[in-house]
């Protein structure tokens, strides 16, 4: 076995970052720049390795690269760990390594002077490593393994500033909320194991396609696995953790929203899609969850006034769109959108970080305004990201959205009008955000004194904005190169095609949203209060985020914790004091009573004897 064979080399992808995590975690104090350099070097190495693997993968006619070893041998069952490079995972690896690399470079400037500078990079490495393991794993158990480690990474990064109570709470909320979905995921995985005797994804899918698994089992296991995906990808009603996740440093948000964590759920559904499509009704459930998330989160994004919250809800909304696409057989479109959205969202979050950097960590858009002149690079790149997410032609977001719309039209046409409404919302809130931050005049002292960020921060912005501008072109087949479009790369059966009228409609919808946004927030020809006042109730409901947080905390405090206190009291008073101590006390009491029969005095005993004899005599006399 040659260590440098490509299929053994892919283990290096996650392992090098684990190495970075361990070395920084243990020895950060002794390392130059507290170890940040090691972390960046590792993820950069992983990115280069990705390119080598990609070349090998393409030159091998896209044949899967696979490597595995036995983890536990239980005789009848063997649990092996394997990594798999195929069309989906190579795309994900590219996205993860690239975005993580840029985010880490950006973080050097952003986190400068933080008391736990080294630890920040250590956890970053762990996070990236877990995410790579997740997308590479060839079996569900290893996937779950990495899945939970991703959860740990997010917990540590969101709670990075743990001295803040809000950060500690947000970290806990993220872990617990996704963990609730994970209960479903693990049960689903074990049910599949029970049915097939293996965790191996392709074996399970093969068994399902051959009819080796009953429909009931497929339905329930798919549904339970989807619960896990809902948690990680922040789908309604398990989305509540993602907006709070902004308590972590802003580059972390860029990473979580673009490349790691939330991408996991989309990836999982895409990976297990051949199973899901066999389950009766599963795709309908996915579509409904997706479209509800798409619309509701879009509506919330429209009214939030915190820059990071707007972006967070926009992520949730777009994840909903991807789920909807998956539910409409649009697996390639969903992955395409995942990648392009990843670029744009990383760009926007890093841009937001740059804005905050210049604004002394203010996140309220009401305090901004007029930053276009003071932060020209940030402003321009942010505009690119906004337009891309808004789906304005010809930026990248337009192309992926177009492919999703085609899928929906072909398989789920009932959902098309609502989806278009969502597209409208999404371009409206993005333009609103841009106008509020960068146009008109400064609305606070902070905004007046704002300044552009250092180069380690602006260069990643520029690189990402170039990608956000042009990566959409990957949708098209390139003549003479063998590239037949992104969709065909993911799945041979999806040839690149367009539906002209749908494209025109989508362009019009996106433009009208953007135009409305500009009219209201940019040129201010329409005063927003005139529109919102008749809809006051609706506005308040949306502004309170449909009361999800309130309802959940009510359930947690009033039901779960109250119940647990009752159980605690029950345990102490009933089980212990009454049950266990009761036995002891009754023994003691009966002893107290019985002890009088053992007084030790002769006259007591003779009295009892005499009375006894007398009674016996009477008894004898009565019987006779």
């Amino acid at each position: 076995m040659d260590l440098f064979q490509i299929n053994n080399l892919i283990w290096m992808l996650p392992l090098i970052c684990v190495f970075a995590f361990l070395s920084i975690g243990l020895f950060s104090k002794f390392l130059p720049s507290e170890g940040a350099i090691i972390s960046i070097f590792s993820i950069g190495f992983a990115f280069i390795l990705f390119i080598f693997v990609l070349i090998d993968f393409i030159s091998g006619d896209l044949a899967a690269i696979h490597s595995s070893f036995t983890w536990i041998d239980l005789g009848e069952w063997t649990i092996s760990w394997g990594l798999l490079i195929d069309r989906i995972s190579i795309v994900m690896i590219g996205l993860i390594t690239f975005v993580a690399f840029l985010v880490q470079i950006y973080s050097v400037g952003y986190m400068k002077g933080d008391s736990r500078f080294g630890w920040y990079f250590a956890v970053h490495s762990l996070f990236a490593s877990a995410m790579m393991l997740l997308v590479l794993s060839d079996n569900l158990l290893l996937l779950y393994f990495a899945w939970e480690l991703v959860g740990l990474g997010s917990y540590l990064l969101i709670g990075f500033w743990y001295e803040k109570t809000s950060a500690a709470e947000a970290a806990k909320k993220a872990f617990v909320t996704t963990r609730i979905g994970d209960v479903g995921l693990l049960i689903g995985i074990i049910i599949l194991f029970k049915a097939t005797g293996t965790f191996h994804i392709s074996s399970i899918i093969h068994a399902a396609q051959e009819g080796g698994i009953s429909n009931e089992v497929i339905f329930w296991s798919s549904f339970l696995i989807f619960l896990g995906a809902m948690g990680k990808s922040a789908q309604f009603p398990l989305h509540v953790w993602l907006p709070d996740a902004m308590e972590g440093p802003t580059p972390v948000s860029a990473l979580i929203h673009a490349a790691t964590m939330v991408a996991a759920g989309i990836y999982l559904v895409g990976r297990m899609f051949p199973l899901f499509e066999l389950g009766p009704g599963i795709l309908v459930i996915i579509s409904i969850v997706g479209i509800v998330t798409f619309i509701l989160a879009g509506a919330i994004a429209l009214v939030m006034t915190d820059i990071k919250r707007v972006l967070a809800y926009s992520t949730i909304s777009h994840l909903g769109l991807m789920m909807l696409s998956l539910g409409s057989f649009g697996v390639p479109a969903a992955f395409f959108h995942l990648v392009l959205h990843g670029f744009s969202k990383a760009l926007l979050f890093l841009g937001a970080g740059s804005v905050m950097h210049g604004m002394h960590d203010q996140t309220e858009v009401e305090l901004m305004g007029g930053l276009r002149k003071k932060m020209p690079i940030t402003s321009l790149t942010f505009l690119v990201g906004s337009l891309s997410l808004a789906g304005i032609v010809p930026l990248s977001g337009f192309f992926s959205k177009d492919e999703i719309l085609i899928s929906i039209w072909e398989y789920n046409s009932w959902f098309l009008p609502i989806t278009l409404f969502g597209v409208f919302l999404s371009s409206l809130y993005m333009i609103r955000l841009y106008c509020l931050i960068f146009l008109s005049t400064a609305r606070s002292e902070y905004a007046e004194k704002a300044h552009e960020s250092p180069r380690t921060m602006t260069y990643p912005l520029i690189i990402l904005s170039i990608l956000a501008l042009f990566s959409g072109l990957l949708a098209f087949p390139f003549p003479f190169t063998g590239w037949e479009g992104f969709a065909a790369f993911i799945d041979d059966h999806h040839k690149f095609h367009m539906i002209p009228w749908l494209t025109v409609v989508s362009i019009l919808v996106a433009f009208s949203g953007a135009f409305l946004g500009w009219v209201i927030y940019g040129s201010r020809r329409i005063v927003i209060n005139n529109i919102s006042s008749p809809l006051k109730f609706l506005y308040r409901l949306v502004f309170r985020k449909f009361l999800f947080d309130e309802i959940y905390s009510w359930i947690a405090n009033k039901i779960v914790f109250t119940f647990s206190r009752w159980i605690t009291i029950f345990d102490r008073v009933i089980v212990n004091d009454t049950g266990i101590d009761g036995v002891g006390n009754s023994t003691k009491k009966s002893a107290d009573i019985l002890k009088y029969f053992q007084s030790g005095y002769l006259y007591n005993y003779s009295l009892v004897m005499v009375v006894g004899l007398f009674l016996m005599a009477i008894a004898w006399w009565l019987v006779e």
């Binding site: 536990i72 963990r179 647990s564």
Partner: protein, 516 residues
């Protein structure tokens, strides 16, 4: 040399701590450092022997290993010629080998964290070694009489250890004195012992061999131990041993006992002592009464599920760090009981691995809480706040223990629980799926209370009274480090452990499944 080791090492595990007791008695208690270092050297020697026993245990050879026999009491003429009635028969299978290793680890780390005990250090170590001698004795005995003898030996020192070196706790609504906890623990466990003793004597009489030897009796199960007898005798063992394993509703001695005990005793208590109960169910109950086990296991798996959920919900309602961990032990021992009750290869393997994993994890938990309590003199999670700022390493150690208990992959708890889950889903048909779902849910509830605790006590702004805290010292970190490494080793590379467990699990299960 190797032969000598093979023959006497198990005996040494019992005798050396007793010799240590004698040695400590001879040292004047004023020489505290002499006491400490002698205790440490005894612990080190015994733990090294335990480690060597585990390492030289060969799982590819079937049957019990490291056999040793000493005929203690002969009753000739009653049951026929030549059958020694009671003899000290020692030997281990894979399950016992792992438990011996666990005891060694906990004993060693427990000695290190006891370094800072101020009051009557010598007497503490005397009782501590007495306790551990008993624990080793239970794991290596193949004779029911001595099994029971050592079982009692390991319970009784607890009374003094908790009653003297323990701490009482006061809460707004109730109080628990250490004397009360010690008394309750001892009485409840002795009550369980009575049931066990009845069952052991019944098996002795029914087997009609004149010997308490487990292996001898095992050979005559099908002839002498009728199915009806087994069904009557098994619940006695189940409840008797179950009490020590924290079986609901007989569990309340355990959280109170944990809370009142001094750090090292909590570690041994939750880490090893509770495992004796589960070990007893496997060693005597399942091995000698296979049909009884078959008959009663459906009850045990339901009670185990109650343990898991009830323990976790109770832990959620607690505010004292040690109470939270105490109830989490009840919850985690529920997984062990469920795994045993699956009567499935995966489940039973997972149960034994969970015994080991939980032992190490909970020892780490109590060691860390001990470090905090020594510095802050409180365990109230409402008073502790923002400790991470000053006690960073301690926080990380607590976090690792917490993540292990909530089943984070890469740490030992995940592997053990996974195997148990798989076993539960494989057994009892649809009921198994429902119970399995509850078991998985239990792990999610664990996440809630552990993370709540961390957020409350370790994160957030540090309160002014803790500004001057010092972090854990090297001695404490060394002890905790051993436990952390063990947790990581099992979590990442469980296969070697699983192979050893398989050695013990296979014959037991084939006995039970063959008996149907």
């Amino acid at each position: 040399m190797i032969d000598l080791f093979n023959e006497t090492s198990l005996l040494a595990l019992i005798i050396l701590p007793l010799l240590g007791v004698v040695l400590l008695m001879l040292i004047p208690s004023a020489y505290k450092d002499v006491v400490r270092y002698s205790a440490l050297s005894i612990s080190t020697i015994v733990s090294l022997i335990a480690l060597l026993v585990y390492l030289s245990f060969d799982h590819s050879i079937q049957g019990y290993q490291f056999l040793y026999t000493y005929s203690w009491l002969d009753i000739p003429g009653v049951w026929g010629e030549g059958s020694g009635a009671i003899s000290l028969d020692l030997g281990i299978d894979g399950i016992a080998a792992l438990m011996v290793l666990l005891t060694g680890i906990v004993m060693f780390t427990g000695t290190i964290v006891s370094w800072s005990i101020k009051e009557d250090l010598k007497d503490f170590f005397i009782l501590y070694f007495l306790l551990l001698s008993g624990v080793f004795g239970v794991f290596v005995s193949l004779d029911m009489f001595f099994f029971f003898f050592f079982y009692e030996l390991s319970v009784l020192p607890m009374y003094l250890l908790i009653g003297k070196w323990g701490s009482s706790s006061k809460f707004p609504t109730f109080a628990r004195s250490k004397e009360y906890s010690a008394m309750k623990l001892t009485l409840v466990l002795v009550a369980g012992s009575v049931l066990i003793w009845v069952a052991i004597i019944a098996i002795f009489i029914q087997a009609n061999l004149g010997t308490f030897n487990i292996l001898a009796i095992e050979k005559v199960i099908s002839e002498n131990l009728s199915s009806d007898f087994q069904k009557i005798a098994f619940p006695l063992l189940l409840i008797g041993f179950g009490i020590l394993a924290g079986l609901w509703p007989f569990h309340t001695w355990s959280p109170d006992g944990h809370v009142s005990a001094p750090t090292a005793v909590s570690m041994v208590h939750a880490g090893v002592l509770m495992k004796l109960g589960a070990f007893g169910i496997i060693r005597i109950g399942m091995l000698l009464l296979p049909e009884g086990a078959q008959f009663w296991m459906p009850l045990l798996i339901v009670l185990g599920a109650v343990n898991v959920i009830y323990g976790a919900i109770s832990a959620m309602g607690q505010t004292d760090l040690k109470y939270v961990i105490g109830y989490s032990s009840v919850s985690h021992m529920g997984y062990v009981l469920m795994g045993i009750a699956t009567l499935h290869y995966l489940g039973l393997t997972g149960a034994v691995l969970q015994m080991f994993s939980h032992g190490v994890m909970t020892a780490l938990f109590f060691a860390v809480v001990g470090m905090i309590y020594e510095r802050t003199h409180t365990r109230d999670s409402l008073v502790l706040q923002g400790l991470a700022k000053k006690m960073t390493v301690t926080t990380i150690l607590f976090g690792i223990a917490g993540l292990t208990s909530l089943g984070l992959p890469g740490l030992s708890g995940f592997v053990a629980e996974l195997l148990i889950f798989m076993g539960i889903f494989q057994s009892y048909g649809f009921g198994g799926i429902i119970l399995g779902a509850f078991a998985v849910l239990g792990a999610a509830i664990t996440a809630i209370y552990i993370l709540r605790l961390i957020a409350k006590s370790f994160f957030g702004p540090i309160s002014t009274q803790w500004e001057d805290l010092t972090d854990s010292n090297l001695r404490e970190r060394f002890a905790a480090g051993i436990l952390v490494l063990t947790i990581l080793l099992i979590g990442l590379w469980p296969y070697p452990f699983v192979e050893v467990i398989k050695h013990g699990v296979d014959p037991i299960l084939s006995g039970i499944l063959g008996a149907i």
